[in-house]
């Protein structure tokens, strides 16, 4: 057997081995593991109540409503981007307005433009009527 032939067989075998992905074989076990509380909340592990809060906000608002988001962390990379993106998903059909931009500049004009403010895990020191409270947050209608 020539050297090239041996090398070819080794290269073919290497490609096959490198492509092989064993992790799917763990799927039946992973299914069981997902029932555990640690994995159940991905991607909301840190803020497990937040999706349920947003479902509540959705239930108490109508399509087309404008909603500003207040979150315990208002730094964009520190967690506000998560809060804003997640709210955009759960509140699809409403217009979700951020109160900070990616450079962490506050956006007070969005608070003025919003019909509602969804306040999660924080309080809002301004006059507003409570529309709904639950799941760690409050939905306020601005006055």
């Amino acid at each position: 057997m020539s050297l090239r032939r041996v090398l070819t067989i080794i290269a073919l075998a290497a490609i096959m081995v490198m492509c092989f992905e064993p992790s799917p074989l763990r799927m039946p076990f992973l299914r069981r593991a997902l029932q555990t509380p640690e994995l159940a909340g991905v991607p909301d592990r840190q803020w497990a109540l937040y999706p349920r809060f947003l479902e509540g906000v959705r239930a108490h608002t109508r399509p087309g409503d404008t909603i500003a988001i207040v979150f315990p962390v208002m730094g964009w990379d520190a967690g506000y981007s998560y809060a804003y993106y997640r709210a955009s998903y759960f509140l699809a059909g409403r217009e979700v307005l951020p109160l900070a931009d990616p450079q962490d500049h506050p956006l007070p004009q969005n608070l003025r433009d919003a019909r509602y403010v969804a306040v999660f895990g924080a309080t809002l020191p301004m006059p507003a009527s409570i529309v709904w409270r639950g799941e760690g947050g409050t939905l306020l209608r601005l006055q």
Binding site: L34, V42, Y85, Y89
Partner: protein
């Protein structure tokens, strides 16, 4: 109707829609090729049906979408029936034990994709978000895409994948992200069926099933609910069809390849880049017919790519890479080129696989390398596009590389792995010469 049944019915409907389209293009398509291309054409055609309804300001309803799809179905059926059948009948493919391994891989992937509601950040911030917003609006919500608050959702990205999710949601009677991993499984399966059929044309059943099994983990995307899976399927199938067309000169393969690449351009911006890379590859590789004639055969791809390009231009949807002055950013980063390239090498996903592929290219006989020049060139050009995008990115370069480089390299891996695998297999002198298995010659 429960969510999983609705999703499966939707996927089955897309296959049924795709069957006459496949047969209108390729009257002789049978078996794996027919099944694989049918889902690809079905999902691609459905996205265009929904896009057309939205442009016509017709609110999406299940009945309206179904009737529109039936029009496409009937038109394709008439075209398929009118096509002469010809005398040549494709030979059925011979299954081997390794095909069971491919099925096992897809089954495991299906289990993974349906573990729970989709959790990928890009799903709920881009692909799923758009689908959900559009479903609420009953069509493409241009106001959402144009809003400066929604640039995070990449408004310029093409919409084939969100529109597929919307079709499933219409069948389901409402939005649910619980089973939306299943279309990703279907796209992966479709690519593997195409790979199996194409490999059978030029090698033994054993090696055809082995290369399919090898590609199975590359065809499945771990980014569930994102456009990666669809792009890998359409792009991979397109490149491999054009590769076969360049070898055989088969007009049917040219049509398949061009359409697949057109749909790939409707999955992600990388699909647009892939079409450019393939156009360069087609112009450079091959000798018959002339380069201009070869490029003309890609017209279906350009035709499919055009509507979204016009729409995003009309609505002035911003592209993050193109914001500001990309050229000045690129020039400014050139002095750090060696550091950037070293960073890319350091963070290469599956580096041992790429090393094995490179080794395979070096070991293979020069004639084999030349015959696979098209796929090797397209892969190299596409990688160059990705690297250029990093040089021009307005984002932090390290963050951009770390969050996208593995995904980008996984997009180009299947065709080049296929080409190198067959190159090596043939050099062992165990590959068969060209068969007409499942294809017209």
């Amino acid at each position: 109707m429960t969510g999983i049944i609705a999703t499966l019915v939707a996927i089955l409907s897309l296959i049924v829609l795709g069957i006459p389209i496949t047969l209108a293009i390729d009257r002789h398509a049978r078996g794996p090729l027919l099944l694989g291309t049918s889902f690809l054409y079905g999902s691609g055609a459905m996205s265009f049906v929904m896009l057309a309804l939205s442009i016509a300001h017709l609110r999406w309803t299940l009945i309206r979408v179904t009737v529109s799809a039936l029009v496409v179905f009937c038109a394709a059926s008439i075209l398929a029936v009118k096509k002469p059948a010809g005398a040549q009948r494709p030979q059925p493919l011979k299954a081997t034990i390794f095909d069971a391994g491919t099925v096992l891989t897809l089954t495991a992937y299906a289990l993974y994709a349906t573990l729970k509601s989709l959790w990928d950040w890009d799903f709920w911030a881009i692909w799923g978000l758009k689908a959900r917003v559009f479903l609420e609006a009953g069509g493409i919500d241009w106001r959402f895409l144009e809003s400066r608050w929604n640039t995070f959702a990449h408004p310029d990205y093409p919409l084939l994948v969100p529109l597929t999710f919307d079709f499933i949601a219409l069948v389901n009677g409402g939005w649910s992200d619980r089973w939306l991993g299943l279309p990703g499984v279907a796209w992966a399966a479709a690519l593997l069926l195409v790979v199996r059929a194409l490999a059978s044309r030029e090698t033994s059943p054993l090696f055809a099933s082995l290369v399919t099994l090898t590609l199975a983990p590359l065809a499945v995307s771990s980014h569930l609910g994102c456009a990666e899976g669809a792009l890998i399927a359409f792009g991979g199938a397109g490149v491999l069809m054009i590769r076969a067309a360049l070898r055989d000169g088969d007009p049917v393969l040219w049509r398949h390849g061009a359409l697949m690449l057109g749909f790939a351009a409707n999955c992600k911006n990388e699909g647009l880049a892939l079409l450019v890379a393939v156009s360069i590859g087609v112009a450079v590789a091959g000798s018959r017919p002339r380069a201009t004639a070869r490029l003309r055969r890609l017209w279906p791809a350009y035709a499919l790519m055009t509507p979204w390009l016009l729409l995003r231009l009309t609505h002035m949807l911003p592209t993050d890479i193109a914001s500001g002055s990309p050229l000045s950013r690129l020039i400014a980063r050139l002095p750090q080129a060696h550091e950037i390239l070293a960073f890319l090498v350091m963070h290469l996903h599956e580096p041992w696989l790429w090393l094995a592929i490179l080794t395979g290219i070096l070991i293979a006989p020069a004639a084999s390398r030349r015959s696979e020049g098209f796929v090797l060139l397209v892969t190299a050009i596409q990688l160059c596009f990705y690297v250029a995008a990093y040089f021009a990115t307005p984002h932090d370069l390290h963050w951009h590389v770390l969050t996208s480089w593995p995904r980008l390299t996984s997009q180009v891996a299947p065709p080049v792995t296929f080409a190198v695998f067959l190159m090596l297999a043939k050099s062992l002198n165990v590959g068969r010469t060209l068969q007409s298995n499942g294809f017209r010659t």
